[in-house]
């Protein structure tokens, strides 16, 4: 398998500097504090608003919906900088990464006009309603069902592991709209559900750190108007699959614990610890090679190419890399992981250790990815 080999242009490098100075400025002003895994666990609607003001939500989208029609590579750079500085971008994350592209591809004009400008302004956040209490990795075993009524659907069921649903306005929800047949992947549709609407109950599930993070979303006779059906009825599974390459290949599968690595190298430099730095170079080399792969996938995605397999590779290898960083670093120096420490290494290490178990689970467990990858390889 090969992928294009990207060298950034001068304009792209300049854009990176622009994002970087924005972030540094806000760290200095105290707008946010760098955290590991902040892209998913750091939801801060007011920071998202600031990002929106820069034109950095939906930046690749058409201008008619408020986007800037910039390249996927620009968005890639933006995302990398958010991750490297551990910025709290979780609130608008799913709307920007997934809902926007989904609506642009499958949405009605009404949906695009209604949602996209709001998302771009940082005023409308989305959650994803995919897993169900008993589905686990078997995502197609959807029990949440909809019954057709006049002008819409009545939905009953429950979704779980919905990250940030407590901060979101809407949820793109996978729902069974036809009776379960032979093939469980068929008869599924994607609905946009108003999370503030009647019959919706959001029950936070605390992460192991005790922080709210994902949610159970209970749907009790929730009315969804016809205009909130995304794309084709019954085509929900395939539409969802199309999102996966975006979901799996991004820098957020490599850089969740990068702030820790960066800070530790600074500490080792101060101590002039060459043995530690030698050990660290292996992580740097790994990061370099993963980044090439991930950027290559972004490029192919932009050109509309097929990247399901390399995207799954990024997810599978990248998440192991970000999971490994704290485990290797704690052996390189004497450090006591502490979520509340004034010492950045101690704090980043604690965040990384506690969040690491999720990396190889969320967005497709490593075990599921192995099967997908092997099948892809065998089919070639």
């Amino acid at each position: 398998m090969n992928l294009p080999n990207i060298q950034f242009t001068e304009e792209q490098k300049q854009f990176r500097q622009e994002v970087r100075s924005f972030l540094k400025q806000h760290i200095e002003k105290g707008t946010f504090e760098t955290r590991c895994d902040s892209w998913l666990s750091g939801s801060d609607p007011s920071f998202s608003k600031l990002v929106a003001e820069q034109g950095w939500i939906g930046m690749t989208w058409p201008k008619q919906y408020g986007g800037s029609e910039r390249s996927t590579i620009d968005r890639y750079i933006l995302t990398e900088e958010f991750l490297a500085f551990g910025a709290p971008v979780a609130a608008h994350w799913f709307a920007d990464r997934q809902t926007g592209p989904l609506l642009l591809r499958f949405g009605t004009d009404y949906q695009k006009e209604f949602f996209l400008p709001k998302i771009v302004k940082g005023e409308c956040f989305f959650a994803i309603g995919l897993s169900e209490p008993n589905s686990g990795s078997d995502l197609a075993s959807v029990a949440t069902r909809a019954e057709k009524v006049e002008g819409g659907w009545i939905v009953n069921g429950a979704k779980t592991w919905s990250s940030n649903a407590h901060d979101a306005h809407y949820m793109v929800t996978l729902i069974r709209t036809e009776p379960l047949g032979e093939k469980k992947h068929e008869g599924l549709s994607q609905f946009i559900i108003d999370l503030k609407g009647e019959g919706v109950t959001i029950a936070p599930i605390r992460y192991l750190t005790g922080e709210p993070h994902f949610n159970d979303v209970y749907l009790d006779n929730v009315f969804v108007p016809d205009e909130m059906v995304v794309g084709t009825l019954g085509n929900g599974w395939k539409q969802g699959l199309a999102e996966l390459a975006f979901e799996r290949s991004g820098p957020e599968r490599i850089l969740s614990t990068f702030p820790l690595l960066n800070e530790v190298i600074e500490q080792l430099k101060i101590k002039r610890d060459l043995v530690g730095l030698e050990e660290a170079t292996k992580l740097v080399a790994e990061l370099w090679s993963l980044r090439n792969l991930s950027i290559g996938v972004a490029k192919v995605l932009e050109e509309g190419g097929e990247v399901a397999i390399p995207a799954a590779l990024v997810k599978s290898i990248g998440t192991k890399f970000e999971q490994k960083i704290p485990e290797i670093i704690r052996l390189m120096l004497d450090v006591y992981p502490n979520l509340h420490s004034d010492n950045r290494v101690e704090r980043y290490l604690a965040e990384s250790i506690l969040h690491a178990p999720g990396f190889t689970i969320r967005g497709g467990t490593s075990e599921v990815l192995y099967g997908i990858l092997a099948k892809g390889v065998i089919a070639q």
Binding site: G136, D138, L208, P337, T360, I361, R362
Partner: protein, 350 residues
Amino acid sequence: MSEIKEMVLEVVEKIFKDKVEKETVDLLEENKWAEDVWQLLLDNELHHVVVSEEDGGAGGDIEDLLALYELIGKYAVPVPFIEHTLANFLLQQVDIKGFEQLTTYSITTPLQLKDNALSGTLKHVGWAQYAEKIVAVAQEDAQQFIIVADLQDALMKNSTNLAAEPRSEVVFENMKALQKVPVSAKQYEQFKKLVTAASVSKMSGALTTAFQLSVQFSKEREQFGRPIHRFQLVQQHLANMAGEQTLMTVAVNNIQTLLAAGREESEVAYARLRMDDASRAVATSAHQVHAAIGVTHEHRLHHYTRRLWAWRDEEFTARYWKKQLAQQLLETKMDLWESITDEVETHVHA
């Protein structure tokens, strides 16, 4: 093994099984702890297990004590049992009678001692915010002492470790040492090993539970129409965890016996090093098997994995012992095979 061991272990395990629910362990996160369980342990005189019979104790040995620490880890019991009994056991070694008041210890970094006044900072001291006394090491000129001090005299900054267990920074500024007994470098080394053996023992307990929860989960959880233990990749996790758990159980058993027999040489260090890998492997696999359910606060798993993550970076770490062992390797005249198979030589300790 002392004769009382099995009986005591049975009693204690029953107490923990009955009284330590998930909610009991959760107490720590609200700045509370299992005072009722602690009271039960006191009522059953379990804090006196290694106190000699003439002093009114049960006359057990370090092996008994460490086996109890495994149980503390196995049930994640939120009580200062290890801190209190180990502090008193250390005192016992230098012929100071133990305290009934809650006592803790911290021997990682020596305090400074001058004219009976203590200065210095002890970091991450377990349960100091609830304890009245502390056992520590202090240095005056070239001589080291085991000392006892009153905690109400110290400045304390309370925090928690990754598992929400109470940890405090304790600062002494010219505080009085209540007692002091000089200790040799060799004795201090021995104390480091005891503390490390305690740590390895409790980790072994937590590791066992993380493993057992995973086995249980893999039987109950179904995916794609069958229990997940039927999938090869889950079997790989279970097999690897079984290996780590068995290795560490045998290792801990080994060091307990050796310490009780006074024949320990480098084995505590070996066990501590190996535990670093074992705890990582088991925590990683246990979470992977439990998938999303295992990273919720609602599930018990994190009580054990967070303890493993916290404990491995406390007190005398693998990094510390690795350096000690490397120094020993450098200094011994025996080759590796001779060192490993010869159990007689007294190793040189740096």
